[in-house]
């Protein structure tokens, strides 16, 4: 807020509320208006992105964030309308997490042609030369899921290093889910480089619910109780496998490394039943995307890489209270979102 010293306390608060909350607020005090459009609005993941964007806006002082997205993550045509509306409204930049690789290509091209800067976050768009060669396209800010799998594998190797021939199993999530397939590939490629490890991949898939993952894990574990480690590539599958290990009383001997946080999983980590958890940083994603957009708007030279990988950490029982890890699962969003 450049001119805020002239304003009364009340109007500072009002401006902050407008910047932070409702998308309709425009403030003359702000130089740039940036629309941040998530895939959905209810999940904590998106709320963290929102908070990160607000954090960047407050730090920069000259940015007004408009936040609007579909309620559910599969409402791609609604998201398309939102993008088109902000582009025609003439916002300076749009930060978008596309619901769909294909559907959002045209609206993004339309926005770029109008001169709106665009940053894509979280999930990629279908490759399009028209977008990638456009000077207003500012690149892709997201978690490197492959790297997440690599980190998980490194943690696993650390956990089983004392065994001479450890048996490690990976339970896949579901065919067709790009982010988890990337994580699986990262894990598989890294673990296979260790020649002493007997690596197996179940033909069974964890499926979308915690219960489907639990059933699969119970079936597999009843046949092979001599496993040393299991990797599960997302929150529901990690939760299901953790519960199966718990029910079968195998949480001690079998090390579990999983992905993404929840109250249950963080408790498992603290309790020593879960031995590693790869955590993404959506707050960082929102923050970096807004920074990137404003950098370009200010006329700074474009960043050399079009792809920016956001923060990613492996949490363990030992490091989970470190200042660099703790915010990834226990960040207080209230100061940003005011809920």
């Amino acid at each position: 807020m450049l001119s805020s010293n002239k304003l009364s306390i009340v109007s500072i608060v009002t401006a902050a509320l407008l910047a932070g909350g409702c998308g309709s607020g425009t403030s003359d005090a702000k130089k740039y208006r940036i629309a941040v459009i998530p895939k959905g609005t209810s999940h904590d993941f998106w709320k963290s992105i929102h908070a990160g964007a607000i954090h960047a806006a407050r730090e920069l002082g000259n940015v007004d964030i408009a936040w609007e997205g579909p309620a559910k993550e599969d409402q791609r045509s609604l998201q398309q309308q939102i993008v088109e509306r902000y582009a025609s409204e003439g916002v300076h930049a749009i930060v978008l997490a596309p619901c769909d690789r294909q559907t959002l290509v045209l609206p993004v091209r339309g926005a770029l042609q109008r001169g709106t800067r665009v940053v894509i976050i979280d999930s990629g768009l279908e490759h399009s030369d028209a977008i990638e060669s456009d000077p207003n396209y500012l690149g892709y800010v997201a978690t490197d899921n492959y790297q997440g799998g690599v980190e998980a594998a490194r943690r696993m190797l650390e956990l089983v290093k004392e065994k001479s021939h450890p048996k490690v199993m990976m339970i896949r999530y579901q065919v067709g889910s790009e982010s988890t397939e990337q994580r699986e590939a990262g894990f598989r490629d890294t673990i296979r480089k260790s020649s002493n490890i007997e690596f197996t991949e179940a033909a069974d898939e964890a499926g979308v619910t915690v219960d489907s993952a639990q059933r699969v894990a119970e079936r597999l574990l009843s046949d092979q109780k001599d496993l040393d480690g299991i990797f599960a590539p997302n929150e529901t599958s990690t939760t299901g496998v953790l519960r199966a290990l718990d029910v079968l009383r195998l949480t001690g001997p079998i090390k579990l490394v999983g992905f993404d946080g929840s109250e249950i999983l963080i408790h498992g980590l603290a309790n020593g039943t879960l031995h590693g958890l790869v955590l993404q940083d959506p707050f960082d994603m929102g923050y970096q995307a807004v920074r990137r957009a404003v950098d370009a708007l200010e006329g700074n030279p474009a960043p050399p890489a079009k792809v920016l990988n956001t923060n990613l950490k492996v949490a363990t029982k030992e490091n989970m209270n470190d200042p660099s890890i703790r915010p990834l699962y226990a960040r207080d969003l209230k100061p940003y979102l005011g809920e």
Partner: protein, 346 residues
């Protein structure tokens, strides 16, 4: 397996034998087919795993939630209805059970009675959703398919709203109440009881429902409604009232499935049983039930639920790719149902 007794009268036909062997035959057939396939693919070692006592115990426990829900579905389907909402009602029950537990745990005055509040809330949720289904079907004169499609959406939305999409664990997930660990146990408890406690609880409910269907007025009215609703009405059966009671009873059984699910997951999960309705309807139909009503038995349904679980378990032991599993399971459901229809026509 014994061959049919040679003393059987000559007028006996294949269809009679099928009726006598009833649903067991399908179960046996599926077991034999999978045993052969697994033997071909993985040799005797694979068969040993598939037919091992520990795997069979696992199959029985994995059938418990679908079987509990299928008991309710059997009652509804015999009366000529259907209930598509069961998958999300089970999920919603896990959520309300956990929320009630956490609520009671947060109130010092209620210490010691958390589990009562939890189970009460879970059963209440199921009863209420069943009652709602029954009232909507009878008062609005809508098809059960449409009504329960609607309540399915409501249960789904409500569960998602109550949890904000995140799992709801026990206040201290490493100290679960006794009933949760007991119901979640895959092993028999006590050891001599052969199958896990959750499966015993379902068998108990099954016995009650079987007696209800066979020996009570409500049971006879249930079959009468499904066979010919108009005739039942003309005979003086209070159709609306009976239907509401049956849907509410089904809601209670679905709620028990939800309590078992809650114990299994030791958490409230807003979508944990999504898609369960299809497995459950398949179980009832495999067990001899019919979408047009008037048919179905408790024993058949239990066997149907076991069969659905065995299909998944067998495909897993066969290490089939997922896409083939869907095809094979679908195919077997169609074949078994076709045999049921053919048997009835003879």
């Amino acid at each position: 397996v014994k061959t049919p007794a040679p003393t059987a009268p000559r007028s006996w036909r294949t269809a009679d034998l099928l009726t006598l062997a009833g649903p067991y035959l399908g179960l046996l057939l599926v077991l034999v087919i999978f045993t052969i396939l697994i033997w071909l693919k993985r040799g005797p070692q694979g068969v040993e795993l598939f037919l091992s006592l520990s795997n069979l115990k696992l199959v029985v426990v994995h059938s418990a939630v679908p079987a509990a829900v299928a008991l309710g579905m059997t009652v509804v389907m015999i009366s000529g209805g259907i209930d598509l909402s069961v998958g999300y009602v089970v999920s919603l029950v896990t959520v309300t059970t956990m929320l009630a537990y956490r609520w009671a745990a947060a109130h010092p005055a209620l210490t010691g009675s958390e589990s009562l509040w939890a189970i009460g809330a879970g059963l209440g949720t199921g009863l209420l959703s069943g009652f709602t289904n029954g009232m909507l079907v009878t008062r609005l004169r809508l098809l059960p398919f449409i009504v329960t499609l609607g309540t399915m959406g409501m249960a789904r939305g409500l569960a998602q709203y109550l949890t904000a999409g995140s799992p709801v664990p026990f206040p201290d997930p490493s100290r679960l109440p006794g009933w949760v660990s007991w119901l979640a146990d895959l092993e028999p408890h006590p050891a001599w009881s052969v199958i896990g406690p959750s499966a015993w609880s379902v068998l108990l409910f099954a016995l009650v429902v079987a007696i209800l269907l066979k020996y009570t007025v409500l049971g006879r009215h249930c079959y009468a409604l499904g066979s010919n609703e108009l005739a039942a009405r003309l005979c003086g059966i209070r159709v609306e009232r009976t239907k509401v009671i049956l849907y509410t009873l089904a809601g209670l059984l679905t709620a028990w499935g939800g309590i078992l699910q809650c114990a299994r997951s030791s958490a409230g999960l807003h979508d944990v049983a999504a898609g369960l309705e299809l497995d459950v309807i398949a179980a009832v139909v495999i067990g001899g039930g019919s979408l047009t009503g008037g048919k179905g038995t408790v024993l058949g349904t239990l066997i149907g639920a076991l069969m659905i679980t065995i299909l998944g378990n067998g495909c897993s032991k066969l290490e089939f790719p997922m896409e083939f599993r869907f095809i094979i399971i679908g195919l077997i459901i169609v074949v078994v149902s076709a045999v049921n229809v053919w048997k009835d026509r003879q």
